[in-house]
Symmetry: C2
Subunit: 542 residues, 2 copies
């Protein structure tokens, strides 16, 4: 196994903060050390890989930290965050995510109890650092990785996981469909600090050599148990693709674009029977409940084009997902709901409204959606537009889309671009939802920008390495990092610089109020003209 990326992010240090009320428990923070002596702490998903003190050995895996936490007793045989929350119990996981998000543990407990938030944390994945998905909290993002029959190796996939977490992925889905599915997943789980999700039907289909008609409930069930034992935190199950919905897709422009959806549709038609995922759903709940696996109820009939958005097939399935949500919750199992896909902007809000109405506000987890079909190679962008808007409307987690969507599997660079793009969409939504603290980072970065603290501007950004690289392309010299201008305008034209001078002058001369200006302090103008010449003095070498 080759090495994975380790080491701190630019100008940042790893810290661990105590979880109040739970002695010995701590959560990670990325502290950005600013050049003005201040610091700024950021939510940190990167795991021990960014901690220079941590000993990283992917052959051994991460520490099984959660095994050392004291969990409450099961209730009626169930040991899930949902049943504990309903019983009024604040678990270590709830306290952890509350501290991490800067909210009260009681808010977390209440949202989980109401089914409006989930904490995906399989008992068998003790390496994970708990996180919460729900509309009351910061919007989260998921990164998909996984090899196919055509590309990639286990080593590459583990590095992609570490890399995705480094740049801010809150969860990870391993969508491998090729060889070594079990082994790839094992490596990922043992080394993943973030919750891991899968789509078990992919592995089940491998077991029947790719023939959907040969699938059975038993093969699927055994696959789920195999993955549950490994520690998968949440699983996509396309149990809402019913036989009678298949014809609704016949006249679509792009039919069924979900792999799981198309597999189940083929099975239903081949057997002319209702989907075994639907008919055996209660048994599935019993398995999930044992491990505290979270359902991610898949939208197998999601639209794959603008033309198919919000159609009857999509919303028929959503109604069934609502029905299944109630069943899962009645078994104490946590649930989130997957959403589209391809949706034009004016049809986005309707998706959230319906999901909340039909699925009792279970966390919505959407793929984009892409706001247009016409930009393959840029679908991270087409979808970031839809993602930001759907998150503003209430979506709790956004599944990233990379530049390779529709064209190929993402490589390491694509994973980073996908993650950063989705951090943008999620953060834009946090701002729009006026999430407490969200704007603090924007303000800190903008202050650094206005004060020409270039290093701080880089360090506070989502991707310090690329920001610095772009800056250095035109002004590579080290003094330029503190220069009061950049290559955009050059020294004489910098609006920020002129503006700062204007401000200083106005403040020093009592011109920073409308009244003062209107009083007509003409005597000040000569003085500013004198001072003005100093504004354009050559930049000092710093």
């Amino acid at each position: 196994m080759s090495a994975v990326t380790t080491g701190p992010i630019q100008d940042s240090t790893k810290r661990y903060e105590d979880v109040p009320g739970f002695p010995g428990m701590s959560y990670p923070v990325r502290r950005v050390n600013l050049s003005n002596g201040e610091h700024f702490d950021l939510y940190d998903t990167s795991g021990p890989y960014t901690d220079p003190q941590a000993r990283i050995d992917v052959e051994v895996g991460l520490a099984k930290t959660r095994d050392g936490w004291e969990h409450p007793e099961p209730i009626d045989g169930a040991a899930t965050q949902l049943v504990w929350a309903r019983a009024g119990i604040i678990t270590p996981e709830m306290a952890y995510v509350a501290a991490r998000e800067g909210v009260s543990p009681e808010l977390v407990r209440d949202e989980v109890a109401r089914g409006r938030a989930v904490i995906p944390a399989n008992h068998r994945h003790p390496e994970s650092e708990p996180m919460v998905i729900g509309k009351a909290f910061a919007v989260k993002i998921n990164a998909n990785i996984g090899n196919s029959a055509v590309t990639s190796s286990i080593e590459e996939e583990v590095e992609k996981m570490v890399w995705a977490a480094r740049w801010g992925a809150d969860t990870l889905m391993d969508l491998s469909t090729g060889r070594n599915i079990h082994e790839t997943r094992e490596w990922i789980l043992r080394n993943s600090p973030i919750p891991v999700g899968t789509v078990p039907i992919y592995q089940a289909l491998e077991k029947v050599k790719g023939d959907p008609a040969s699938l059975t409930w038993e093969i699927f069930r055994d696959t789920v148990i195999e993955q549950a034992e490994q520690g998968v935190d949440y699983m996509t199950v396309h149990a809402g693709v019913l036989l009678r919905y298949v014809p609704l897709t016949a006249k679509r422009v792009t039919g069924i674009v979900s792999r799981g959806g198309s597999i189940m549709a083929a099975w239903c038609l081949a057997h002319h029977q209702e989907s075994f995922l639907y008919t055996h759903f209660v048994e599935l709940c019993q398995i999930f409940r044992k491990y505290d696996i979270t359902f991610s109820l898949g939208d197998g009939l999601r639209p794959g084009s603008i033309a198919d958005a919000n159609d009857e097939a999509q919303f028929a399935e959503l109604r069934t997902l609502g029905e299944l949500t109630k069943i899962a919750k009645s078994h104490g199992v946590q649930v989130m709901i997957e959403g589209p896909g391809h949706v034009p902007m004016h049809k986005i809000v309707e998706n959230v409204r319906l999901e909340e109405e039909l699925c009792e506000e279970a966390p919505f987890y959407t793929l984009g959606p892409l706001a247009t079909d016409i930009a393959p190679a840029y679908d991270h962008i087409t979808s970031a537009i839809g993602a930001a808007m759907i998150a503003q409307a209430g979506t709790a987690m956004l599944c990233y889309v990379t530049p390779k969507e529709h064209l190929g599997l993402p490589n390491r660079d694509d994973v980073k671009v996908g993650v950063i793009t989705y951090k943008i969409a999620a953060h834009a939504a946090d701002l729009a939802k006026q999430h407490p603290r969200a704007q603090e980072r924007d303000d800190a970065l903008s202050r650094a920008r206005f004060e020409f603290r270039w290093r701080d501007q880089f360090a506070l950004s989502l991707d310090p390495d690329t920001a610095r690289e772009y800056h250095d392309e035109t002004l590579p010299a080290e003094p330029a990092k503190t220069a009061h201008f950049c290559s955009m305008c050059g020294p004489k034209f910098c609006s920020m610089r002129i503006s700062a001078d204007v401000r200083t002058y106005a403040q020093e001369n009592g011109l920073d109020s409308l009244e003062a200006i209107e009083a007509g302090m003409a005597d000040k103008s000569a003085e500013f003209a004198r001072m003005g010449s100093s504004v354009y003095l050559p930049i000092r070498a710093v």
Copy 2:
């Protein structure tokens, strides 16, 4: 002068279509030739550079086509699209843009007459292919180029112009601030098929060696006339930055971030006088009217950070721009209004609402806005989110932002990324506004995708070259261009393929209606199971 990029875009040919009612006039179209024998015509901004028949010589410049068109007589001495429109006259330019957009000439005339649309077309830029900016039409995008004291050459800037137009820029602003401003602009204008805008205060400031306090109305006026004579189609004028608004920026996080705004603020404070752009605005109108230059009333006090969005400084200036709009129109001069900047999503719509209310629905022309401050190096994306939303709300033209925003000047690659990103935002808005014909391209591309016509999918996309390159990274062989799968899922897992098989089976067996399914055609299932095996036959080499 080095060569510029020429030649057709992948699988496309250049065509010229007649402008109805104007014999001898034609407008360009990019015809995408599909592999199924069909074709799809696209709006084409690329100019003669994509026409293999055209003789390109940048030393000579493009043909002065508009000089050959028969224009109406001036009305009261004014020869502007606005005065003609008000007089009920459909000009060649109006007919041209109507044909190009697929709308009636009368709609264009009416929108121009009402001041809700502009056609920036300086009489001295006869090389330009007219285009219309207004909320009733397709959303347009502007690309900024221009050298600074620090970087770039004339050759590079001309190639950036050709390159920006090739990928879909509807207009171009030359923001050069370095040496050879006049000469750079001359090269660009003589070779630009798209309207060109400038910010004359930049050149005026060069003339006073970078000292704002030394600026005078006379120097500015002479600069405007110099640029007008060259053929600049629209000019940004920051006439709304009034002395009394300057103190409103004192407590901002990022003060004044517009170069023009900061220059004028410095001038106002230095002289303690009202801005000469404001006090001499009528004279400016008289100059603009002579050439039919369009005002782009600059938002010199636009917010440069999330914290400063929608503040009193911004909206105070907007009120003044509304006042100036009325004056300009009373002189028969076309006007558009520039907008922010940095605005969180929940504050975007308010910008459009106020602009329309205060500025009589003059076309809004916004820079993004960026929906968050925290992603330098990705501000094309942070701003595409805001741009798509503000265009959905009614903005007529979007000024692109490149990945280098805040960090450096865009190179040729950045220009392309900026243009494509903004084509996405503009098109997403056209879809959301349910603009006639907008969805046709999405549907054509999605049909190509569903039918595995890879070449067509590339050719119909905004960037065929990159789409093909990404596809070929994992499946480079030529047969893969027609294969019924891609590297994402591999042959066995392709949802599109399974879905197409499901559809074919359902249709052939009368299972494509809910009634048929519910009638319980169990006898069909055995047949599908038999056929199902063929679904997974190895892909034929095509």
